[in-house]
C-alpha cells in the first residue's frame, strides 16, 4: 500500500505527548530554567540530609549573627540557622505550589467537563464560577485561611479555590467546541456511553491547554503561598517557608537585609523558572501562539 510513502505533515501536529525530554533542552533559556527548578526541587527534597542544622532549633545567644563557617547564611532573630530554614522552606512552598495545581486542575476539569456537556448544569455552575472569579484571589485565600486555621492543607485549599473557576471555564470552552466536532457526534450516534465520550474524545482535547494553564498557575500558587505567609495569614510562623522567613525578616530589615533577600531570590528563581517553562510549553503546544508571540 501507498501508506508508507505519505509525506510527513509539513505542519507539526500539536500533540501533548510530543514534547518529551527534548522540550526541556529545546532552547538555552528553557534548559537553564529547568535546571534551576530541578536544583531547587532536589535541594528541598534532600533538606533533612543536607541542612547543616535543625531549622527549628532556637539558639537565643546567637541571634542575628552574620555568615560564618558554622552558619553559612547567618542566623535569624531567634538564633536559627537561615540556610537550613531556607532549604526546608522550599519543601512547603513547592509542595503547596504543585499540590494546589493538581487539585485545582482536577476539580476544575470535572466541573468544566460537566458544564460543557450538560446545558442544564452549565447555567448554574457558570454563574457560581463568575461570582467566585470576581473575588480577588488573595482576599478569598486569606479569608479562608483565617477562618479555617492555618495548616499546609488549608493553605493549599485556600489557594486552590480561586483558581478552580478559571480551569473550569477553560475546560468548558474546549468541550463546547469539541462537542460540535463530527467525531463526537459520531460517537454519540453510535451510542457510546457518556464516560467513554468524555474520556476518549473530550478529555484529550483539554490536555494541552491545561498543561499551559497549570504551569502558569503553579507559579502563581507558589507566589500566593509566599504572600500569605508574608502577610502573617499563612502557615504558622515557626514552620519554615520562604514567605515566613521573609515575614520574620521584616522587623530586622535594616539590620540584616539578607533575611529577606535570600528567600526572596530563591522564590523569584523558582517562580521565574516555572513561568518560563509554562511559556515555552504554550509555544510548543500551540504553534499559532508561537507565531503570534513571535518566539521568545
Amino acid at each position: 500500500m501507498a501508506i508508507e510513502t505519505l509525506p510527513e505533515p509539513s505542519i507539526p501536529i500539536a500533540s501533548p505527548l510530543r514534547p518529551r525530554f527534548g522540550f526541556f533542552t529545546s532552547s538555552p533559556i528553557i534548559a537553564v530554567a529547568s535546571l534551576c527548578l530541578l536544583i531547587i526541587v532536589v535541594l528541598s527534597i534532600l533538606a533533612p540530609w543536607i541542612a547543616p542544622h535543625d531549622p527549628m532549633q532556637l539558639l537565643p545567644a546567637l541571634r542575628l549573627k552574620p555568615s560564618s563557617e558554622q552558619f553559612p547564611l547567618g542566623t535569624d532573630a531567634y538564633g536559627r540557622d537561615v540556610l537550613s530554614r531556607i532549604l526546608y522552606g522550599g519543601r512547603i512552598s513547592l509542595l503547596i505550589g504543585f499540590g494546589a495545581t493538581v487539585v485545582s486542575v482536577a476539580v476544575g476539569l470535572l466541573i468544566g467537563l460537566f458544564s460543557g456537556f450538560f446545558r442544564w448544569v452549565d447555567a448554574i455552575l457558570m454563574r457560581i464560577m463568575d461570582g467566585v472569579m470576581a473575588i480577588p484571589a488573595i482576599l478569598l485565600a486569606i479569608a479562608v485561611v483565617s477562618l479555617s486555621g492555618a495548616s499546609v492543607f488549608t493553605v493549599m485549599i485556600a489557594i486552590t479555590i480561586p483558581e478552580i473557576p478559571r480551569v473550569a471555564r477553560l475546560v468548558r470552552s474546549v468541550v463546547l467546541s469539541a462537542r460540535e466536532e463530527p467525531y463526537v457526534e459520531a460517537a454519540i450516534s453510535v451510542g457510546s456511553g457518556l464516560p467513554k465520550i468524555m474520556w476518549r474524545h473530550l478529555l484529550p482535547n483539554t490536555i494541552a491547554p491545561l498543561i499551559v494553564q497549570g504551569t502558569n498557575f503553579c507559579a502563581s500558587a507558589i507566589l500566593t503561598e509566599a504572600i500569605l505567609s508574608f502577610l502573617g495569614a499563612g502557615i504558622s510562623p515557626e514552620t519554615p517557608t520562604w514567605g515566613n522567613i521573609m515575614a520574620e525578616g521584616r522587623a530586622f530589615f535594616q539590620v540584616k537585609p539578607s533575611l529577606i533577600f535570600w528567600p526572596g531570590l530563591l522564590l523569584s528563581i523558582a517562580i521565574l523558572s516555572v513561568n518560563l517553562i509554562g511559556d515555552a510549553a504554550r509555544d510548543a503546544l500551540d504553534p499559532r501562539m508561537k507565531q503570534r508571540e513571535g518566539g521568545k
Partner: protein
Amino acid sequence: MLGYLLRRVLAAIPVMGVVALVVFLLLRLTPGDPAAILAGDNATPVQLERIRASLGLNEPLYVQFFTWINKLLHGDLGVSLISNVPVVKMIGQRVEPSISIAIATIILSVIIAVPLGVIAAWKQGTWIDRFVMGLSVLGFSVPVFVIGYVLIQLFAIDVRWLPVQGYKSIAGGFGPFFERLVLPTVSLSFIYVALIARMTRASMLDVLGEDYVRTARAKGLGEIAVLFRHALRNAAVPVITVIGTGFALLISGVVVTESVFNIPGIGRLTVDAVLARDYPVIQAMILLTSLLYVAVNLLIDVAYTLLDPRIRY
C-alpha cells in the same frame, strides 16, 4: 447602547449575589462554632454571646442571610468586632492611600508599558523584543514584596533619596505625599507593566500585518505616526481589557505593598482584620473589592464602544 448597558448591569447582579453568598457561607460553613472561631481560644461565654448577637448567629441560616443582605443594600456593612466602629467609617478613613497607589500605578504602568509593547512588536524578533519580553517574564515572577525591599534598600537606605516607609495625605502638601508614593508605586508597577506590555505587543503584532498599516506606510507616513496613530488605535481594545482583568492583580498588589511600606490603607486594614479575625471587616472588604472589580470591567466594556466605533451592541 442603552439597552446593552442595562443588560450588562443586570448581568452583574447575579455575579454579586454569588459573591455575597460565598462571603456569607464562608463563615457559616467553616467547621465549628463561628462565634468561637472569631473569638479565638480564650473567649469568655459573654464574648461569644456578644459575637453571636452582633452577627445574628442564633437565627436560622436563611433569616441571617436575608437580614444581612437587607442591611447591605442599605449601606450597612456591620460593626467591627474589635473596635466597635462601623465598618463603613473604618474603610472611609483608610481609602485615600490605597486609591492613590492604585491610580498612580495604573498611570505609571500604562506610560511605561504601552510604548515598550509597541516597540517590541515593531522590532519583533530582535534583541529589543527579547529584552522587553524577558523583562516582562521577570516582572511576573519577582514578588512585589521582594521588589519593594530591594527598592527600599537601594533608594531609601543606600542613597537616602526617598523615605523608607509611611504615607502622608495629599492634604498635607504634594511634596511629602509624592515622596512617599514613589517606591510603593514603582514596586507595584512591575507586574502591571509586564502584563500590559505583553498584551500590547501581542495585539500590535496582530494589527501590524493589516492592509491599512501597509497603506499608511505606502502613502509615506513616518513610522511613529503609523505605529501610534494607525496601529495602536486598532490594537487598543485587548490592551484596555487586560487593564481591567489585571485590576484583581492590582488589588492583591495593593494589599501586599501597603504591608511592605507600612501604609495605613484598606489593604493594611484587611490584613489586620484577618489577623484579628474581625469578620465584618473581612466580609466588607471582599464585597467591596469584588464590586469594584465587576464595576471596572463593566466600564471597560462600555469604553470599547468609544474606542472602536465598529463595536456596536
